[in-house]
Protein backbone atom coordinates (compact mmCIF):
# COMPACT_ATOMS: atom_id res chain seq x y z
CA UNK A 1 0.00 0.00 0.00
CA UNK A 2 2.66 2.43 1.02
CA UNK A 3 4.73 1.63 -2.04
CA UNK A 4 1.91 2.59 -4.36
CA UNK A 5 1.03 5.77 -2.51
CA UNK A 6 4.38 7.44 -3.05
CA UNK A 7 4.44 7.32 -6.88
CA UNK A 8 0.79 8.33 -7.02
CA UNK A 9 1.35 11.32 -4.78
CA UNK A 10 4.38 12.36 -6.85
CA UNK A 11 2.36 12.17 -10.07
CA UNK A 12 -0.49 14.06 -8.45
CA UNK A 13 1.82 16.83 -7.20
CA UNK A 14 3.41 17.18 -10.62
CA UNK A 15 -0.01 17.36 -12.25
CA UNK A 16 -1.02 20.21 -9.96
CA UNK A 17 2.26 22.03 -10.59
CA UNK A 18 1.82 21.49 -14.32
CA UNK A 19 -1.71 22.84 -14.24
CA UNK A 20 -0.70 25.93 -12.29
CA UNK A 21 2.27 26.68 -14.53
CA UNK A 22 0.32 25.95 -17.70
CA UNK A 23 -2.34 28.42 -16.64
CA UNK A 24 -0.14 31.18 -15.32
CA UNK A 25 2.90 31.08 -17.60
CA UNK A 26 0.73 31.86 -20.59
CA UNK A 27 -0.36 35.14 -19.02
CA UNK A 28 1.99 38.03 -19.27
CA UNK A 29 3.40 39.08 -15.92
CA UNK A 30 3.56 42.71 -16.94
CA UNK A 31 0.43 44.25 -15.55
CA UNK A 32 -1.74 45.71 -18.24
CA UNK A 33 -4.66 47.67 -16.87
CA UNK A 34 -8.07 46.22 -17.48
CA UNK A 35 -9.93 48.50 -19.79
CA UNK A 36 -13.35 48.11 -18.33
CA UNK A 37 -15.89 49.40 -20.77
CA UNK A 38 -19.64 49.75 -20.95
CA UNK A 39 -19.57 51.30 -17.51
CA UNK A 40 -21.90 54.15 -16.75
CA UNK A 41 -20.25 57.52 -16.51
CA UNK A 42 -19.85 58.87 -12.98
CA UNK A 43 -22.12 61.52 -11.59
CA UNK A 44 -20.19 64.58 -10.55
CA UNK A 45 -20.24 68.34 -10.42
CA UNK A 46 -17.13 70.36 -11.08
CA UNK A 47 -15.79 73.78 -12.02
CA UNK A 48 -15.10 74.53 -15.65
CA UNK A 49 -11.84 76.03 -16.82
CA UNK A 50 -12.02 79.21 -18.95
CA UNK A 51 -15.75 79.64 -18.29
CA UNK A 52 -15.64 80.25 -14.53
CA UNK A 53 -18.83 78.36 -13.84
CA UNK A 54 -19.93 75.16 -12.18
CA UNK A 55 -21.41 72.31 -14.12
CA UNK A 56 -22.45 68.71 -13.61
CA UNK A 57 -22.36 65.46 -15.53
CA UNK A 58 -25.94 65.57 -16.78
CA UNK A 59 -25.40 69.08 -18.12
CA UNK A 60 -22.19 68.17 -19.93
CA UNK A 61 -23.12 64.77 -21.35
CA UNK A 62 -26.33 64.64 -23.38
CA UNK A 63 -27.90 61.50 -24.74
CA UNK A 64 -27.53 60.37 -28.36
CA UNK A 65 -24.28 62.23 -28.93
CA UNK A 66 -20.70 61.04 -29.12
CA UNK A 67 -18.33 62.52 -26.60
CA UNK A 68 -14.60 62.21 -26.32
CA UNK A 69 -13.29 62.80 -22.83
CA UNK A 70 -9.60 63.54 -22.66
CA UNK A 71 -7.62 63.80 -19.43
CA UNK A 72 -4.69 66.13 -19.85
CA UNK A 73 -2.31 68.46 -18.02
CA UNK A 74 0.05 71.17 -19.17
CA UNK A 75 2.95 69.41 -17.40
CA UNK A 76 2.34 66.14 -19.22
CA UNK A 77 4.69 65.63 -22.17
CA UNK A 78 2.72 62.92 -24.04
CA UNK A 79 -0.32 65.22 -23.91
CA UNK A 80 1.64 67.67 -26.04
CA UNK A 81 2.27 64.88 -28.58
CA UNK A 82 -1.37 63.89 -28.89
CA UNK A 83 -2.67 67.44 -29.06
CA UNK A 84 -2.59 67.73 -32.89
CA UNK A 85 -4.78 64.61 -33.05
CA UNK A 86 -7.33 66.16 -30.71
CA UNK A 87 -7.22 69.32 -32.81
CA UNK A 88 -8.04 67.39 -35.97
CA UNK A 89 -10.81 65.47 -34.15
CA UNK A 90 -12.32 68.75 -32.98
CA UNK A 91 -13.06 69.64 -36.62
CA UNK A 92 -15.51 66.73 -36.73
CA UNK A 93 -18.87 68.15 -35.66
CA UNK A 94 -20.28 64.73 -34.76
CA UNK A 95 -17.89 64.54 -31.82
CA UNK A 96 -17.87 66.76 -28.75
CA UNK A 97 -14.55 66.90 -27.01
CA UNK A 98 -14.54 67.41 -23.25
CA UNK A 99 -11.31 67.85 -21.32
CA UNK A 100 -10.36 67.07 -17.75
CA UNK A 101 -7.52 69.25 -16.59
CA UNK A 102 -5.66 66.95 -14.20
CA UNK A 103 -3.76 68.43 -11.22
CA UNK A 104 -2.77 71.54 -13.09
CA UNK A 105 -2.67 75.21 -12.34
CA UNK A 106 -4.95 77.51 -14.30
CA UNK A 107 -2.26 79.79 -15.65
CA UNK A 108 -0.18 76.97 -17.13
CA UNK A 109 -3.24 75.26 -18.54
CA UNK A 110 -4.34 78.45 -20.27
CA UNK A 111 -0.95 79.12 -21.80
CA UNK A 112 -0.80 75.49 -22.98
CA UNK A 113 -4.07 76.00 -24.85
CA UNK A 114 -3.00 79.40 -26.19
CA UNK A 115 0.14 77.86 -27.58
CA UNK A 116 -1.30 74.67 -29.10
CA UNK A 117 -4.96 75.55 -29.67
CA UNK A 118 -8.08 74.56 -27.77
CA UNK A 119 -9.90 71.48 -29.10
CA UNK A 120 -12.16 71.22 -26.04
CA UNK A 121 -15.74 72.32 -25.85
CA UNK A 122 -15.68 72.29 -22.07
CA UNK A 123 -12.85 71.65 -19.66
CA UNK A 124 -13.49 70.18 -16.23
CA UNK A 125 -11.07 71.30 -13.53
CA UNK A 126 -9.73 68.38 -11.50
CA UNK A 127 -7.46 69.98 -8.95
CA UNK A 128 -6.93 67.01 -6.64
CA UNK A 129 -7.33 64.18 -9.15
CA UNK A 130 -10.46 62.66 -7.61
CA UNK A 131 -12.63 63.28 -10.66
CA UNK A 132 -10.23 61.23 -12.80
CA UNK A 133 -10.33 58.39 -10.27
CA UNK A 134 -14.13 58.41 -10.47
CA UNK A 135 -13.75 57.85 -14.19
CA UNK A 136 -11.46 54.91 -13.51
CA UNK A 137 -8.38 56.63 -14.91
CA UNK A 138 -4.75 55.78 -14.14
CA UNK A 139 -3.05 59.02 -15.08
CA UNK A 140 -2.51 61.36 -17.97
CA UNK A 141 -3.15 61.21 -20.87
CA UNK A 142 -6.22 59.06 -21.09
CA UNK A 143 -9.16 59.15 -23.47
CA UNK A 144 -12.72 57.86 -23.21
CA UNK A 145 -15.39 57.64 -25.88
CA UNK A 146 -18.85 58.14 -24.43
CA UNK A 147 -22.22 57.47 -25.99
CA UNK A 148 -25.58 57.55 -24.21
CA UNK A 149 -23.89 58.05 -20.84
CA UNK A 150 -21.84 54.88 -21.24
CA UNK A 151 -18.10 54.55 -21.72
CA UNK A 152 -17.83 52.61 -24.96
CA UNK A 153 -14.08 52.83 -25.43
CA UNK A 154 -11.08 53.72 -23.34
CA UNK A 155 -7.52 54.50 -24.42
CA UNK A 156 -4.70 54.64 -21.89
CA UNK A 157 -1.77 56.74 -23.02
CA UNK A 158 -1.46 59.20 -25.87
CA UNK A 159 -3.55 58.94 -29.03
CA UNK A 160 -1.82 58.27 -32.32
CA UNK A 161 -2.80 58.23 -35.98
CA UNK A 162 -3.99 54.62 -35.82
CA UNK A 163 -6.32 55.38 -32.93
CA UNK A 164 -7.48 58.52 -34.74
CA UNK A 165 -8.75 56.33 -37.59
CA UNK A 166 -10.34 53.96 -35.10
CA UNK A 167 -12.18 56.79 -33.36
CA UNK A 168 -13.39 58.17 -36.67
CA UNK A 169 -14.72 54.73 -37.55
CA UNK A 170 -16.60 54.46 -34.22
CA UNK A 171 -18.39 57.78 -34.57
CA UNK A 172 -19.36 57.28 -38.19
Amino acid sequence: MKKKLIPYSIIFTFLIIFAVFYKSLKDTNIYTPETKINNDIPIFSADLLLLNENSNSTEIFELDKFYLLNIWASWCVPCRDEHPILMSLSKNNKLNIIGINYKDNKKNAKSFLDELGNPYEKIIVDKNGTNSIEWGAFGVPETFIIYNNKIIKKYIGPLNNELLLEIQKIIK
Partner: protein, 120 residues
Protein backbone atom coordinates in the same frame (compact mmCIF):
# COMPACT_ATOMS: atom_id res chain seq x y z
CA UNK B 1 -2.77 70.65 43.34
CA UNK B 2 -0.32 71.78 40.71
CA UNK B 3 0.65 68.22 40.01
CA UNK B 4 -3.01 67.32 39.65
CA UNK B 5 -3.53 70.17 37.14
CA UNK B 6 -0.57 69.06 35.09
CA UNK B 7 -1.83 65.55 35.16
CA UNK B 8 -5.24 66.65 33.84
CA UNK B 9 -3.63 68.65 31.03
CA UNK B 10 -1.43 65.74 29.99
CA UNK B 11 -4.40 63.40 30.11
CA UNK B 12 -6.48 65.72 27.87
CA UNK B 13 -3.65 66.07 25.37
CA UNK B 14 -3.35 62.32 25.17
CA UNK B 15 -7.07 61.82 24.56
CA UNK B 16 -7.10 64.44 21.78
CA UNK B 17 -4.30 62.54 20.11
CA UNK B 18 -6.33 59.39 20.39
CA UNK B 19 -9.40 60.96 18.74
CA UNK B 20 -7.33 62.01 15.73
CA UNK B 21 -5.91 58.56 15.36
CA UNK B 22 -9.37 57.01 15.36
CA UNK B 23 -10.63 59.32 12.63
CA UNK B 24 -7.93 58.20 10.27
CA UNK B 25 -7.88 54.54 11.14
CA UNK B 26 -10.84 53.56 8.98
CA UNK B 27 -9.35 55.38 6.01
CA UNK B 28 -5.99 53.71 6.63
CA UNK B 29 -7.60 50.30 6.94
CA UNK B 30 -9.30 50.71 3.58
CA UNK B 31 -6.34 52.18 1.73
CA UNK B 32 -4.13 49.35 2.98
CA UNK B 33 -6.33 46.90 1.10
CA UNK B 34 -6.30 48.93 -2.12
CA UNK B 35 -3.47 48.41 -4.57
CA UNK B 36 -1.74 51.45 -6.00
CA UNK B 37 -2.16 50.58 -9.66
CA UNK B 38 0.68 52.66 -11.01
CA UNK B 39 3.27 51.72 -8.39
CA UNK B 40 4.86 48.31 -8.11
CA UNK B 41 3.98 46.26 -5.07
CA UNK B 42 2.66 49.10 -2.94
CA UNK B 43 -0.70 49.73 -1.41
CA UNK B 44 -2.42 53.09 -1.70
CA UNK B 45 -1.63 53.60 1.99
CA UNK B 46 2.11 53.13 1.45
CA UNK B 47 2.41 55.15 -1.70
CA UNK B 48 2.81 58.89 -2.10
CA UNK B 49 2.20 59.00 -5.84
CA UNK B 50 -0.33 61.34 -7.46
CA UNK B 51 -2.67 58.44 -8.07
CA UNK B 52 -2.51 57.20 -4.47
CA UNK B 53 -2.99 60.66 -3.01
CA UNK B 54 -6.10 61.20 -5.10
CA UNK B 55 -7.37 57.78 -4.02
CA UNK B 56 -6.93 58.73 -0.37
CA UNK B 57 -8.91 61.92 -0.87
CA UNK B 58 -11.64 59.98 -2.64
CA UNK B 59 -11.81 57.34 0.12
CA UNK B 60 -12.25 60.17 2.64
CA UNK B 61 -14.97 61.65 0.48
CA UNK B 62 -16.80 58.33 0.20
CA UNK B 63 -16.56 57.79 3.97
CA UNK B 64 -18.06 61.24 4.48
CA UNK B 65 -20.86 60.30 2.12
CA UNK B 66 -21.60 57.43 4.49
CA UNK B 67 -20.41 54.48 2.42
CA UNK B 68 -19.26 51.42 4.35
CA UNK B 69 -15.88 49.75 3.88
CA UNK B 70 -17.41 47.04 1.69
CA UNK B 71 -19.29 49.51 -0.46
CA UNK B 72 -16.08 51.41 -1.10
CA UNK B 73 -14.34 48.21 -2.24
CA UNK B 74 -17.22 47.46 -4.58
CA UNK B 75 -17.09 51.00 -5.87
CA UNK B 76 -13.41 50.75 -6.78
CA UNK B 77 -13.78 47.22 -8.12
CA UNK B 78 -16.41 48.45 -10.57
CA UNK B 79 -14.02 51.09 -11.85
CA UNK B 80 -10.70 49.26 -11.90
CA UNK B 81 -11.49 45.55 -11.68
CA UNK B 82 -10.39 42.88 -9.19
CA UNK B 83 -6.72 43.85 -9.35
CA UNK B 84 -7.23 46.93 -7.18
CA UNK B 85 -8.16 44.77 -4.16
CA UNK B 86 -5.50 42.94 -2.19
CA UNK B 87 -8.16 40.53 -1.00
CA UNK B 88 -9.91 39.35 -4.16
CA UNK B 89 -13.20 37.50 -3.96
CA UNK B 90 -13.88 34.01 -5.27
CA UNK B 91 -14.51 34.04 -9.02
CA UNK B 92 -13.46 32.12 -12.12
CA UNK B 93 -9.99 33.66 -12.13
CA UNK B 94 -9.24 33.11 -8.49
CA UNK B 95 -10.87 29.76 -7.71
CA UNK B 96 -7.52 27.96 -7.94
CA UNK B 97 -6.00 30.40 -5.47
CA UNK B 98 -8.77 29.74 -2.98
CA UNK B 99 -9.24 26.02 -3.49
CA UNK B 100 -5.63 24.88 -3.78
CA UNK B 101 -4.79 25.17 -0.05
CA UNK B 102 -7.92 23.22 0.82
CA UNK B 103 -7.09 20.55 -1.73
CA UNK B 104 -3.53 20.24 -0.49
CA UNK B 105 -4.77 20.07 3.09
CA UNK B 106 -7.24 17.30 2.25
CA UNK B 107 -4.62 15.43 0.25
CA UNK B 108 -2.13 15.65 3.10
CA UNK B 109 -4.81 14.51 5.52
CA UNK B 110 -5.55 11.53 3.29
CA UNK B 111 -1.89 10.52 3.23
CA UNK B 112 -1.64 10.74 7.00
CA UNK B 113 -4.86 8.81 7.45
CA UNK B 114 -3.73 6.10 5.08
CA UNK B 115 -0.24 5.64 6.37
CA UNK B 116 -0.87 5.94 10.11
CA UNK B 117 -4.45 5.18 10.98
CA UNK B 118 -5.26 2.47 8.48
CA UNK B 119 -1.97 0.70 9.14
CA UNK B 120 -3.08 -0.04 12.67
Amino acid sequence: MKIFKNFVIIFLLMTINNINANENSERNEITKNLRCLICQGQSVYDSDSDFANSMKILVDKKLDEGLSEKEIYIYFKEKYGDWILYDPGLNKNTYLLWLLPILIFLFGGAIIAKSFILKK
